[in-house]
Each structure stands twice: as C-alpha cells, then as structure tokens.
C-alpha cells in the first residue's frame, strides 16, 4: 500500500471533476478537499449531484475528466482488489438505505463482517448489537427490511456503515426521515466518531441544525461547481446571492 506517503494530506480531494449523464452535465469542474479527521457537509438543491459526488468518492461512478483522490490515491487508477481494500476503510450510508432485502436487519449489519472477517459468532453478534444500540434500534435484529419504516432503514444503513470501524464515512442524508430526537442523537454520533476516533466524514445534508452540529466546513454545490466552501458560521451568514436565494433570505 502506498497510502502512507500521503497520510498527512487530505482524505478526499476532487480536482476539476466533470461528470455527465447523456446530455445532462452534473459535475462541471467540481473541486473540494476533505481534511483528515474533519467533517465536511455538502448542501445544494435537489438533483444537483450531491449523491453523484459521494458515489465518485467511493468509486461507484468514475469522472469523465478531472481527478478524484481518496487516501492519496487516484481512485480511477487503483486495481479492483486495491479498491476493495480501500473500501474496507470506508463506510457509505445510502440515501435510500439500500438494505439487502432478503437479509434480516441484524444480518444486514453483520454482512461486511461475515464476508470479510473470520470473527467468532459471539463476537460478531456483540458488535452488531452494539451498533444497533447506537442507532436506537436494539431489538430489530430479526426484522426484515420490508417490515421496517424508512427512518429505521436509514438507521440500519448507518449501523452497517459503522460496523467495520471505518476511517472515512460518507453519509447521504443521514437524517432524512428521522424525527428530531433521533436526528439529534445521530448528529451527536457523527460528532463523537470524529472527536473520539478521528473519523473523517463527508455528509450530504439539508437540515441546517444538523449541519451546524456536525460540520467543520460546509460546501454549497450548484451548477456542477462548489460555489461556497466555508466554516458553518461564515457559511450561514454569507451574502452570496445564490445562497441567499436558497435560504429564502432574498431581501432586495
């Protein structure tokens, strides 16, 4: 592994990334950096390419041009086995949960451990149960994905992303569909992971309260570019006209 060379550099770096689907240009010279141990939130209108950005960072999509570096490696150039190794250090929370529909909640969370480690059954169960407790669904092991609500699916998705103790977690709207109480505790969890374990996070989020709690920096994505990237205090007081329009603060 050649990741040590850049251990101090940013965990994720997008440089002039362009991506189009057919005629539709989604990313158009998008650049950003996520520093190690920090949390960066991405905001932007619906359909602007936030999920697409996250998918580039984990290699589910590849850029048409520009570079995407993760752990200091250009992700389009790593071999399949190396990419698999890199992904074991990452967690991904899908927007719609993306739970495996024929596995129970517990087995969904246990899947990465079952497939990629030789943990004993007891140890494995204990770890899964701990993660389920973290997201406030301690008794959900035997439920099937079709039996649980959208917000619960989301939380199972978070538990599954956390199960391998990743260094880098990509959250696609972790709070969508959660009630305020649970949302606050998920936010606290994201914060704790960062402060306690030095996890780096990229969070796509719409909720301002959440962004304020979890982020070190906020990025506004529109028109395929990063329009504003700033600390939360500055971001929410920015007088960038596009931001003002987005937050409905247009006074003039």
């Amino acid at each position: 592994m050649t990741t040590q060379a850049t251990e101090g550099g940013p965990v994720i770096r997008f440089n002039e990334v362009c991506k189009r689907f057919g005629e539709k240009v989604v990313l158009d010279g998008f650049s950003m950096e996520l520093a190690r141990g920090k949390t960066l939130s991405i905001m932007g209108p619906s359909g602007v390419g936030k999920s697409v950005t996250l998918k580039h960072a984990i290699g589910l999509l590849t850029a048409d041009s520009g570079s995407v570096e993760v752990f200091g490696r250009e992700i389009s150039e790593v071999s399949t086995p190396e990419l698999a190794e890199m992904r074991k250090r990452m967690g991904y929370v899908f927007q719609e949960g993306a739970l495996i529909n024929w596995l129970s909640v517990g087995e969904n969370v246990a899947l990465p451990l079952r497939e990629n480690t030789d943990l004993e059954e007891d140890e494995l169960r204990a770890r899964v149960e701990e993660r389920l407790r973290l997201v406030h669904i301690p008794d959900a092991w035997d439920l099937m994905p079709s039996e649980i609500s959208g917000g619960m699916k989301k939380r199972v998705g978070i538990a599954r992303a956390l199960i391998t103790d990743p260094e880098l977690i990509l959250y696609d709207e972790p709070n969508a569909g959660l009630d305020p109480e649970i949302a606050r505790s998920i936010n606290a969890l994201i914060r704790e992971l960062q402060e306690g374990l030095g996890v780096s996070s990229l969070v796509v989020e719409h909720r301002i309260d959440c962004i304020k709690t979890v982020s070190d920096e906020v990025l506004f994505l529109d028109g395929g570019k990063a329009l504003v990237q700033a600390k939360p205090e500055e971001f929410f007081h920015s007088n960038h006209p596009r931001l003002a329009r987005f937050f409905g603060k247009e006074s003039a």
């Binding site: 689907f21 057919g22 359909g47 698999a84 990452m90 599954r160």
Partner: protein, 277 residues
C-alpha cells in the same frame, strides 16, 4: 420544482444508449454471459462456505416447480404414448410403445420440459430478484462493502440450479413413463407388464458412469447444462438491470426469452454431439 421536472425529462434519454446493429448486441450479450459464467466458475471453491445458500436455492426451486414438473411430465408421457401408439398400432407394433416413450422422455422430453419449467418459474424469479436489488442500490451497497456478489448471489443460484435440474428431470422422466403406461393400458390395450419390460429394456445399462443407461445420462447432462445456462442468463440480466420497475420487467422478459431459445439451441447441439459424434 424546476429541477424536478427537468430530471424526469432527462432520465429516459440517459438510460437508452444509441442502438447498435442487432448482431453486435447479440454477440456482446452472449459474451457477457459467458464471462459471467467463467468468473463464477472460478469461485467454485467457495461452494462449501455457500452451502446454506445453495441448499436454499435448491429447496426453493425444487418446491416451486415440483408440482408443475409432475403434472406436465405426466401429460407429456401420455401424449407421446398416445401419438406414437396410434401409429404403431396401424403397423401392429404397439408392443414397442414402452421403448419409444422411455427413450423420448429420457433423451429429450425430460430435460426439455424441466428446463422450460425452470425458466418460467425460477429463471424469471432470479432475474426479477437481482434486478430489484440492482435498481434499489443493493448491488452498489454490496460493492462498497467489498462483498463479492458473484460469490454471494450468482454462485449459489448457478450451482443450485445445475444440481436441481437433473433431479427434477429424473422425476419428469419417471412420471412421463408412468403416464405413458396409463394410456397404453387404457387406450391402446398394451398391458403394464409388456410396456414396462420394453421401457426398461430400452434404457439398458451401458456400464458407463454409475452404470446408467446412455439415454438417461445424456438427458441428465443436458439438464445440468440447461440449469447452469438458465441461472447464468437470469443472473446476468438481473445484475445489469437499470431503470426502475420498468427495467426489472425488461430484464425478466429478456431472461425468459433467451433461456428458452438457449434450451432449444443447446439441445440440438448436445444431441448432435452425444449421438452422432
């Protein structure tokens, strides 16, 4: 709001790439299937650790299709018996009915009927299951968790179907021959004893491969190949599904259509290879 309508307007354009000539499309999709098969066969070593999933696949597909195989097999045997019986009776040769029913069930009808039933019930279900996983991002989820989907999803279905197909074929052969016996007895005045003697005589042991009669093992080999082919085609169609529920429908249709074509074409070549070469 403006964005939302824009997305909807763009989506169909993005999912339907420009059309290639049909022959290229055909070669490409056959190539993909063969590649999927080879890559999955390279994981055959994972079979022991996937035994639970394989057993589940076998059990499910066996249960789903057994009653259909019993019913259709019985009637196919009756049809073959009646059709050939009427002609043979004209020549005074009706004592040969057993031979003809036994051989045509074992060589052709058993594996063909079983393959067709498996396609309609299990192949379509596999394409729909994997297709649904694909359009709901579950395959992406497996990928980001570094879970090998060929080993988790394709291998159990491939091995399961390749194992259950010959078992169901045996069942189909047996009920077919029994169905033929009913008709022979009731409509053609050929007694059970004569029918069975000629049927058993027709499937003479050859001393080869567990001492099975050649016609029987030829049919069973066909069944294994059909089972593997059905699973490969269905998994391939399922895994590459895009475009929501419509896409799942498209994949299922393609899987069933291509498996049926595959069964007929492969059947011809295997018969040629096993009986003429």
């Amino acid at each position: 709001m403006a964005e939302a309508t824009e997305i909807r307007a763009e989506e169909p354009a993005a999912t339907s790439p420009p059309r290639d000539p049909a022959i290229l499309t055909f070669l490409r999709s056959e190539g993909e299937r063969i590649e999927l098969l080879l890559r999955t066969l390279r994981r055959l070593g994972h079979t022991p650790s996937r035994s639970k999933l394989i057993y589940e696949q076998m059990f499910l597909s066996g249960i789903q299709t057994l009653h259909v195989v019993l019913l259709v097999g019985l009637f196919i045997g009756m049809i073959v018996s009646l059709q050939t019986g009427i002609e043979l009776a004209k020549l005074g040769q009706q004592d040969q009915i057993g031979t003809i029913v036994a051989i045509s069930m074992a060589r052709e009808m058993g594996p063909f009927i079983t393959g067709t039933i498996l396609t309609a019930t299990v192949g379509s279900a596999i394409a729909a299951e994997l297709g649904t996983m694909s359009v709901s991002n579950e395959l992406d989820a497996l990928e980001v968790m570094s879970v090998d989907r060929l080993s988790l999803l394709v291998l159990p279905r491939l091995v399961g179907l390749a194992l259950i197909a010959p078992l169901l074929t045996l069942v189909c052969d047996t009920v077919g021959i029994i169905g033929g016996a009913f008709v022979a007895q009731a409509q053609l005045n050929v007694g059970y004893e004569m029918y069975m003697t000629s049927a058993i005589d027709a499937l003479r042991p050859t001393g080869f491969l567990f001492n099975l009669p050649k016609d029987l093992y030829a049919g069973l080999i066909k069944a294994v190949v059909f089972g593997g082919m059905i699973a490969t085609v269905a998994c391939n169609e399922g895994l590459k599904t895009t475009g929501g529920a419509l896409g799942v429908g498209r994949s299922t249709r393609a899987a069933v259509r291509d498996s049926i074509i595959g069964i007929i074409v492969l059947n011809y070549f295997m018969t040629w290879f096993m009986y003429q070469a």
